[in-house]
């Protein structure tokens, strides 16, 4: 790459099994608290009008929860931020219900089911919830979805010189899809990334493509999460951020490419 891509991490948010928010997750990742992987608990979503809230599925609640947490931690204005949403599979429950209905004699799909089936549903509800009118992208790269979202955000930061909110999220499918795509539980991470250092910046990231092997996690349960949920491929990076550790980390990306990230903590 002619010049690696650089951005500063302003805030992190996380939600996953046994990881209810960033401060608790940071303790687990830093090794100062034990990891207790009970099922992911999705908090109620207060940011949408009741009519819209009733229509949202698990992935939308998941994505909006971490997005709002990251924005709140940075004291940023969600309505002014471009956003990148990346998910390997979107709303599996909704997809299952649609396929089941289409396999029946009636073939009736409700309008809500249909509009929730788009891969950018979380992005759409995010706009309704926050009033954000800037560009918003909705990406999928199967198991490489976190890396694809990170690159999309970094490129936008470089070219448009704007902060970007990255939200990567995956939720589990119900059966019978679960057997063919065994994502064990819901997991989401949000990073508010900026083009220059600010007072509250956590760390600078310098990202390049690499052929090196992706880093694994020593804790077998966290490593299982990393390996099974595409959005959790971010965990080795989040571990460095939690430990404020100056180091390089290699994240999983596409079959022939990984992402090498230099993490330089700001304090």
């Amino acid at each position: 790459m002619s010049g690696a891509l650089t951005a500063w991490v302003e805030s992190v948010a996380l939600l996953g099994p046994g990881l209810p928010d960033w401060p608790s997750a940071a303790q687990v990742l830093a090794g100062t608290a034990a990891y207790d992987p009970h099922p992911t608990v999705l908090p109620p979503l207060g940011c949408l009008p009741p009519a819209e809230r009733r229509r949202t599925g698990k992935v939308v609640r998941l994505a909006l929860t971490v997005g709002l947490e990251a924005v709140a931690r940075a004291g940023a204005d969600a309505g002014k931020l471009p956003a990148v949403f990346s998910s390997s599979g979107g709303d599996g429950e909704n997809c299952h219900e649609i396929c089941q209905a289409l396999a029946s004699a009636e073939r009736q799909i409700s309008p809500t089911r249909f509009h929730n089936s788009v891969h950018n549903a979380a992005s759409g509800y995010w706009g309704i919830a926050t009033g954000a009118t800037a560009a918003s992208n909705a990406l999928c790269a199967f198991d490489a979805s976190f890396g694809a979202g990170l690159l999309e955000a970094l490129v936008q930061i470089r070219v448009d010189e704007t902060p970007v909110l990255l939200i990567a999220y995956d939720a589990d499918y119900p059966e019978p899809m679960r057997s063919v795509r065994p994502i064990p539980d819901a997991f989401a991470v949000a990073l508010l990334l900026t083009p220059a250092a600010r007072q509250g910046s956590m760390a600078r990231l310098t990202v390049d493509l690499s052929a090196a092997s992706a880093e694994r996690l020593a804790d077998p349960q966290l490593e299982a999460l990393r390996a099974q949920v595409p959005a959790a491929r971010s965990l080795p990076l989040l571990r460095r951020l939690a430990r404020s550790e100056r180091a390089a980390v290699v994240l999983d990306y596409l079959e022939s490419q990984r992402l090498r990230i230099e993490v330089s903590p700001c304090h």
Binding site: H115, H119, G124, I128, S136, N137, L254
Partner: protein
């Protein structure tokens, strides 16, 4: 932004395979829409089905990607020697330096819909031959095209409903500007499936007769399918006269409603305004507008308001969805290629099927083809979730 050259491009839709067939249909003001005979669908509607898609077979080593959507992708890649042009570029630049951004809304979901009819009656399990990664997953089309073309650079699917394959031009343009890649394959592939046919039907947005964008009696859209691709590269210092350039991109969000546009076209206006700024063009320098123009009452009304506000009421424009149907996640890519053909041949395609322009819309909608030298044209693509993208293409002098 720094302009990029479309050094190769192609499109396959119900109008035909490749640029020759597509342009001949546009020149002849023909529609490819026909009464729906797709699969077991019993809806009384017209669709833009590509003939012969299921006669295609993926090469043996790519069998894991077998599905209608990837068969359509392969059919599309082979037209106009597009695949050869990409391999030549990858040979020159290195396969790691060529990125891939494709748009799709439903990828290979048809395979899943069909597999759900064959679930094990006892356990409910999907049949053993069902392929999640190669067919169902939204990324499947990009994984397939990446392997088929031998590319090793960054890749992603952008899936924001009907803006998907317009937005790939913006993402690829940024990736080239940032130095992440030197060239990019962009495009869109979306194929007929039951989810979109019955889904749009549930929203009462599907027309019974072939769609009539901007008509006073317009009553919905017709669904189509397409594969469209372009190869984006930095132009030579003096691009060859007549070559097609990407001049500007604009993206916005409505922040309004999941399945209805902002009534004043707020997000559409923002996308068009940004694209003009990126291209450093004044509104009156756009010679032709390819409307999103789905043919639904609300889309065309909102888009007309936005166009009148940003480009004025006299810009000649048309929607080519009367000819191709709404190809959803492939629409942005297909209409980008139609814009490239318009620039190359100096032809503004008239909107077919439309008989009587809705006077309330106040736009200069073309009912007939018009020939004129074109310097810069705009294409609009808007999707569910309030996702908007406008692209500006130009012709090198």
């Amino acid at each position: 932004m720094t302009p990029l050259a479309l050094t190769a491009f192609t499109a396959t839709s119900c109008l035909g395979r490749g640029l020759g067939a597509t342009f001949a249909a546009l020149e002849g003001a023909r529609t490819g829409l026909a009464p729906c005979r797709f699969e077991t669908v019993t809806l009384d509607t017209h669709v833009g089905e590509v003939a012969g898609v299921d006669d295609e077979r993926l090469p043996g080593e790519l069998e894991e990607f077998e599905c209608r959507n990837n068969r359509l992708a392969l059919l599309g890649l082979r037209q106009d020697a597009f695949d050869e042009a990409v391999r030549t570029a990858a040979g020159r630049l290195g396969p790691k330096r060529v990125g891939l951004w494709l748009g799709t809304s439903t990828s290979g979901i048809l395979e899943t819909e069909l597999a759900y009819r064959r679930r094990d009656p006892g356990t409910g399990a999907l049949p053993a031959d069902f392929r999640y990664r190669g067919a169902h997953n939204t990324f499947s089309v990009a994984a397939f095209v990446r392997r088929a073309l031998g590319l090793e650079g960054p890749a992603a699917v952008i899936s924001s409903a009907c803006s998907s394959s317009a937005k790939v031009f913006a993402s690829a343009q940024r990736a080239i500007a940032a130095g992440l890649v030197d060239a990019a394959v962009v495009g869109g592939v979306d194929s007929l499936c039951l989810t979109t046919l019955y889904g749009f039907h549930s929203l009462q947005l599907v027309a019974r007769t072939p769609c009539r964008p901007f008509d006073v009696e317009r009553d919905g859209l017709s669904i189509g399918e397409a594969a469209a691709f372009a190869l984006l590269e930095r132009p030579e210092s003096r691009p060859a006269a007549g070559s097609v350039l990407l001049l500007g991109t604009g993206e916005s969000s409505d922040a309004w409603h999941m399945s209805a546009p902002h009534p004043e076209g707020r997000g559409a206006s923002a996308a068009m305004t940004q694209a003009l700024a990126a291209a450093r063009l004044a509104p009156d320098e756009i010679d032709y507008l390819n409307f999103h123009g789905t043919g639904t009452p609300s889309n065309d009304a909102a888009e007309a308001r936005a166009v009148a506000a940003v480009l004025g009421t006299r810009i000649p424009g048309s929607s080519t969805k009367g000819a191709t149907g709404h190809t959803l996640g492939a629409a942005g890519g297909l209409e980008a290629v139609i814009c490239a053909l318009a620039l190359r041949h100096g032809l503004m395609p008239g909107g077919v099927n439309t008989r009587s322009i809705d006077p309330a819309l106040g736009v200069a909608y073309l009912l007939e083809n018009r020939r004129a030298p074109l310097e810069a044209v705009m294409s609009n693509s808007f999707g569910f979730g309030g996702s908007n993208c406008s692209l500006i293409f130009g012709r090198a002098a």
